[in-house]
């Protein structure tokens, strides 16, 4: 890597020649405000907040995209620079609805932060405001263009990273709007509901469909037995909503908070993850032995499932027929658990706390119900749960740790792995390899499938078989892998696909970190670290060793892949046209 000598605000420094001014300034300890910038995702120099003076240049330059060069001299804090930033910010604010007090992003808004930091006291250039549209017809995502500042992070995410491409800029100039083709509502376009657009939105123009009212209402209904389950990724992220460092494990506090909110039982979706491994592992072994359709592709990620239904209908037979873990859990709660507790399944209300917006759509799928009774009644994202905790006046950080409730409270470390990319694969290998070989694995840390590389591959000896596996995360990577499988370039037995980059820890329902943090800290890695710690500290680390799972099969499902389990734990998929 070649180094260049540059000067920023009079300070000389040496930086790699691949740096932008923004990166170099960070090293020099100089803070340059940004708004549209999101490292590696949206580097388009559009918002002009990061303008700086570059010696020899007629106009101000955007630091986020301006490459350094030998001898470059930059000033980031001159009267002209400060004035230009302020004027631009006032212009943006003049066309923003500024209803901060009732905005879902109040106190976590990058525009609000900048406004404070740039000392905006007055908006001098008031004028016509763009009349936006509110689209709340999707069960997962709400768009409100009157708050949109046209930074285009959502567009870059949807188009370049996820390759879903259902939103883009339309019209020009002052009438520019980020919207769908023909302004259709999101529920009528091939949106995967992954919510990554929300996760990158600096303001409140994109948000999840808030379902907290439904849950409050259920909790206050004495006729309902309201139970809650939490996905593995929630416990390693929700602390961020309460100011804790990224990657804090707050499982016990989270369980205690849920109990305080009034849920009758607090369960762990990890238990159902173990159940999924049993069902999916059996399905894999069956397909390998009986010559079924391969590769088998995981079905835990509802964003991926909808993406597949729209884009690769001919791959639907490759999908595992297993319901996703929380849906399995819902089905178990409304059958086995109901029977055991002597409660009418109709009176059991299942709430899932998920790192995911696509799960909201998934829970509404007709096929994920039993006799008209949905397996899961409502899905809340991590963010919505945090809002309920705050609303209830619970001091989250001062809570004492509590345990998940029995009789479904135990889970293996394998189950918790589902929260990170590669986790399903690692959990499956632990079980499948041991079943196929009949021997215990010496090493159950399958490092090849961990980490944030886009496409990961592993080969594992399982008895006589060399199990070929691939793991991808992010729909753009999924597209690449599926197309190479379709072209015959790649062959696998088992493929794990997660819709969100990094898997569930970085799901579209997780706490939102501003660009100034997530551009420089890899949220996926930090949160996944906590997931792997949770697994490491677990007493049981193999799904098939979970006593509850054994009990479930003994008492109810008989064996994995049984008639009963197919009735309750498996589903089917339907091809969907690109535009409906």
């Amino acid at each position: 890597m070649a180094m260049v000598n540059i000067t920023i605000d009079g300070k000389q420094l040496q930086v790699p020649d691949s740096y932008t001014i923004l990166e170099a300034a960070r090293e020099a300890g100089v803070n340059i405000p940004t708004l549209c910038f999101l490292k590696e995702i949206n580097e388009i120099g559009a918002c002009r907040m990061c303008v700086v003076e570059v010696k020899g240049s007629r106009s101000l330059q955007a630091a986020c995209v301006y490459p350094v060069a030998e001898g470059l001299t930059v000033n980031t804090n001159t009267p002209d620079v400060r004035e230009a930033r302020k004027v631009t910010l006032e212009l943006i604010l003049s066309n923003h609805d500024k209803k901060c007090l009732t905005c879902v992003r109040n106190k976590n808004c990058e525009l609000q932060t900048l406004s404070e930091e740039l000392n905006i006291k007055d908006i001098r250039f008031e004028g016509e405001e763009f009349k936006g549209i509110v689209d709340d017809l999707s069960p997962s995502i709400v768009r409100d263009s009157s708050k949109c500042i046209l930074c285009r992070r959502c567009v870059s995410m949807c188009k370049n990273v996820q390759t879903v491409s259902v939103i883009d800029t339309m019209n020009r100039g002052f009438n520019t709007i980020v919207t769908t083709a023909f302004n259709k509502p999101l529920n009528e376009v091939p949106c995967s509901n992954c919510g990554q657009c929300i996760a990158v939105c600096p303001v409140g123009a994109l948000r999840e469909k808030d379902d907290t009212d439904k849950v409050w209402k259920a909790l206050s209904n004495p006729d309902l037995h309201v139970v809650v389950q939490t996905a593995p990724a929630v416990r390693v992220a929700i602390g961020e909503e309460f100011g804790l460092p990224i990657g804090s494990r707050v499982t016990g506090k989270m369980v205690e908070a849920l109990k305080k909110l009034g849920f009758a039982k607090v369960f762990d979706t990890d238990t159902a993850a173990d159940l999924t491994i049993m069902e999916e592992g059996t399905e894999l072994i069956h397909r390998i032995k009986e010559g079924g359709k391969l590769p088998l592709i995981t079905s835990c990620s509802p964003g991926w499932i909808k993406f597949c239904e729209h884009n690769y209908p001919d791959m639907l037979d490759n999908l595992s027929s297993c319901k996703s873990p929380h849906e399995m859990f819902g089905a178990v709660l409304k059958s086995y658990y109901a029977k055991e507790q002597g409660i009418d399944p109709k009176n059991i209300y299942v709430v899932s706390i998920m790192p995911c917006t696509a799960k909201k759509y998934e829970a509404n799928r007709e096929e994920l119900s039993n006799n008209g009774n949905a397996d899961v009644d409502v899905v809340l994202t991590t963010r919505e749960l945090a809002r309920m905790i705050k609303e209830a006046g619970i001091e989250f950080n001062n809570l004492t740790d509590a345990e998940f409730d029995q009789p479904m409270g135990d889970a293996s470390g394998a189950g918790v792995l589902f929260g990170a990319t590669g986790g399903v694969m690692e959990a499956a290998i632990r079980t499948v390899a041991e079943i196929l070989s009949g021997e215990k694995l010496d090493n159950i840390d399958i490092k090849e499938v961990r980490g944030t590389e886009g496409i990961k591959e592993a080969e594992v000896k399982a008895g006589d078989l060399i199990l070929k596996a691939a793991v991808v995360h992010g729909l753009g990577n999924a597209r690449k892998l599926i197309e190479s499988i379709q072209k015959g370039e790649k062959e696998y037995h088992f493929v794990e696909i997660m819709g969100c980059p990094g898997g569930c820890v970085n799901g579209g329902g997780q706490p939102i970190q501003p660009s100034r943090i997530r551009s420089w800290v890899d949220l996926r890695k930090e949160r996944a670290k906590a997931i792997y710690e949770e697994d490491r500290d677990s007493k049981i680390r193999r799904s098939h060793e979970n006593p509850i799972i054994k009990k479930l099969y003994d008492e109810y499902f008989e064996k994995p892949g049984s008639h009963k389990s197919h009735e309750l734990l498996h589903t089917h998929y339907t091809p969907k046209p690109p535009y409906i």
């Binding site: 930033r85 003049s94 001098r124 250039f125 100039g173 002052f174 009438n175």
Partner: protein, 598 residues
């Protein structure tokens, strides 16, 4: 074969003359020539633009060099009979000195022509643009032959450098330097692009070159390809130029047929081809990075520079982009030499520049003059001055990105640098003349309306800032402005110029800045005295009848569409100003000059 004819009649087929019926005139000529049995003696051609668009349709008869203007279909019979059959030119339709003894000299004494120097437009109006042979007959492709057979790529670049040619599209960047940047890049693929997305309101020089001399652009792009090591060119031309697109398409096909495009051109081993890409008419697509983004098939929006196109342009490959007029100069530089070219013009601006004259000027049209010609010469000598003897107030150059030049600078020799110094810019060469009846605030508003419409919406300074400036200007012209509004305009203009993403955004405040610079008193009159000195801004003026001059004839009351003028015999008429629409009809019709704008 063309040379067997005794006379050639050239009818302008440019967009201007086409829209004033030149196609029908050509058809009528063919009919009449046959009627008089002259079809084997006299040949009719369609040519490119002669420049005198206000006088169209234009017809030229060679070898005499007689130019007929404002020809009507009904005139054709007379011209054919009198001029082409009996040899007696139809004087009443002749341009120039109608009484001159020698028709061939008739145009020489006319300033519109004799002060011009046609380099880029050299073939416009001279050749049939749909015939490659005619281009070749006028030394076409000779420069390419010279370049491919006698010169090394570096020598080509050196020659362009030496000529001092600067980009004619707006920025005035040295063309040779641009080429050398791209030539220096190492890569398997480079591109040569031509910007024919002419978008300045009123500018049409690029269209005229493409319509009148498309081969010159093809030849120049091929030379550029050889110089930088590219074998693929793209012409990005707006779809609103159907005639230009059609002729360019014909020219490209002919050049391929003749082996002047394609593989192994002139047995030199050099391959080059050109494709046309149609633009949808977005002004911003004339900006180089937006143009390339659009060619790539994306929404036409600029991207930040650096990296510059010479390093990462079209599809991230080294690319040069020049505009049509720049290319049109290239073959001449190689035919006549860089020294000849650089002998024309000023110290830092060499060669000629084509201007599209518009607004309050008698000779609306296209003119080409050596750099350094003064504004006065262009407006008064070539342009024929201002209609109705009105006073010159300002000239707007550079389109929406340019600025206004007031009367006190009429004698400034015009080149890239002098215009920048005056707070305007060359732009693509639009030159709009304004007379004393023009309100400068209103003019600034007009250009801002254009910029607001054409902003791509990518960066807030342009997307929101131009909108806010327009809102302020609208307030001012409606008599609702304050002095604080002028200050706000100044703050916005300064900061949009400094921080917008692309050249278009950065120059969008120029019409405001230059009118504020030279005509601030007009702004102040609007906000402080609520008066529009030029009497343009309707909300600040009203019409009055001078009772002493009024003869109570009642004509004003009859023409008033709002029926707001009342009066009776022997009593002066009165306007009800609350109901008045300020249309001015009464003032125009009053035979006694009793009505005035106040």
């Amino acid at each position: 074969m063309h040379f067997l004819y005794r006379s050639h009649v050239m009818v302008c087929g440019g967009t201007g003359c086409t829209s004033s019926n030149s196609e029908k005139i050509r058809a009528e000529l063919d009919t009449k020539l046959e009627e008089y049995g002259l079809q084997d003696e006299i040949k009719v051609f369609k040519t490119g633009c002669f420049g005198l668009c206000a006088e169209g349709p234009i017809m030229m008869v060679y070898p005499e060099g007689a130019m007929y203007t404002m020809v009507k279909v009904e005139d054709v019979d007379e011209i054919v009979r009198e001029h082409l059959l009996y040899g007696r030119p139809v004087k009443r339709l002749l341009a120039g000195d109608k009484e001159h003894m020698d028709i061939t000299k008739a145009l020489d004494s006319v300033a519109f022509f004799n002060k011009q120097m046609r380099v880029a437009l050299r073939n416009c109006g001279k050749i049939n643009p749909e015939c490659i042979d005619e281009y070749i007959a006028f030394d076409g492709y000779k420069a390419l032959e010279k370049v491919l057979t006698q010169m090394k790529p570096q020598e080509v670049i050196d020659e362009v450098n030496k000529s001092g040619l600067r980009g004619r599209g707006g920025g005035g960047f040295p063309t040779g330097l641009k080429w050398s940047f791209a030539a220096r890049q190492v890569g398997d693929q480079k591109y040569v692009c031509c910007n024919a997305d002419e978008g300045d309101p009123g500018a049409f020089m690029d269209r005229s070159v493409l319509e009148g001399d498309p081969h010159s652009v093809i030849e120049a792009m091929t030379i550029a390809g050889y110089a930088i090591g590219s074998n693929q060119g793209y012409v990005y031309v707006r779809a609103e130029y159907p005639i230009a697109v059609k002729r360019l398409d014909i020219a490209i096909k002919q050049a391929r047929e003749y082996g002047l495009l394609g593989k192994n051109i002139l047995e030199s081993g050099f391959d080059f081809d050109i494709e046309i890409r149609l633009g949808a008419g977005a002004f911003v697509c004339g900006e180089e990075t937006a143009l390339m983004t659009s060619i790539e098939g994306h929404r036409g929006e600029p991207r930040p520079r650096p990296p510059f196109p010479a390093v990462k342009g079209l599809w991230q490959k080294p690319t040069i982009l020049n505009n049509v007029e720049t290319y049109a100069n290239i073959p001449v530089i190689f035919l006549k030499g860089a020294d000849w070219f650089s002998s024309i013009g000023t110290e830092k601006s060499k060669g000629t520049k084509v201007f599209a004259l518009g607004g309050k000027i008698n000779n609306v049209g296209l003119v080409e003059v050596p750099m350094g010609t003064t504004l006065r010469e262009i407006v008064y000598d070539i342009g024929g001055g201002i209609p109705k003897g009105k006073k010159f107030k300002a000239a707007q150059t550079g389109g929406p990105s340019g600025g206004c030049i007031p009367a006190e600078h009429l004698d400034t020799p015009i080149d890239y640098d002098s215009l920048i110094q005056l707070g305007s810019m060359m732009g693509s060469g639009g030159l709009i003349v304004m007379d004393e009846d023009t309100c400068m605030v209103d003019i600034a508003k007009f250009f801002l309306e254009f910029t607001v419409d054409e902003s791509c919406g990518k960066c807030p300074p342009c997307r929101i800032g131009t909108k806010r400036m327009l809102e302020i200007l609208t307030r001012i012209t409606e008599g609702k402005g304050t002095e604080e509004d002028i200050e706000k305009l100044e703050v916005l203009a300064k900061n949009i110029k400094a921080s917008a993403l692309c050249g278009l955004g950065q120059t969008s405040p120029n019409p405001i800045l230059s009118t504020l610079k030279y005509f601030k008193d007009e702004y102040i009159a609007h906000v402080r005295d609520k008066k529009c000195p030029a009497g343009v801004c309707k909300s600040m003026l009203h019409y009055e009848i001078n009772p002493e001059k009024c003869k109570s004839c009642g004509i004003c009351a009859k023409v008033c569409p709002a029926s707001c003028i009342k009066g009776e015999k022997k009593v002066p008429y009165v306007i009800d100003t609350d109901k008045c629409l300020k249309c001015g009809a009464c003032m125009q019709k009053c035979p006694f000059g009793a009505i005035s704008k106040v």
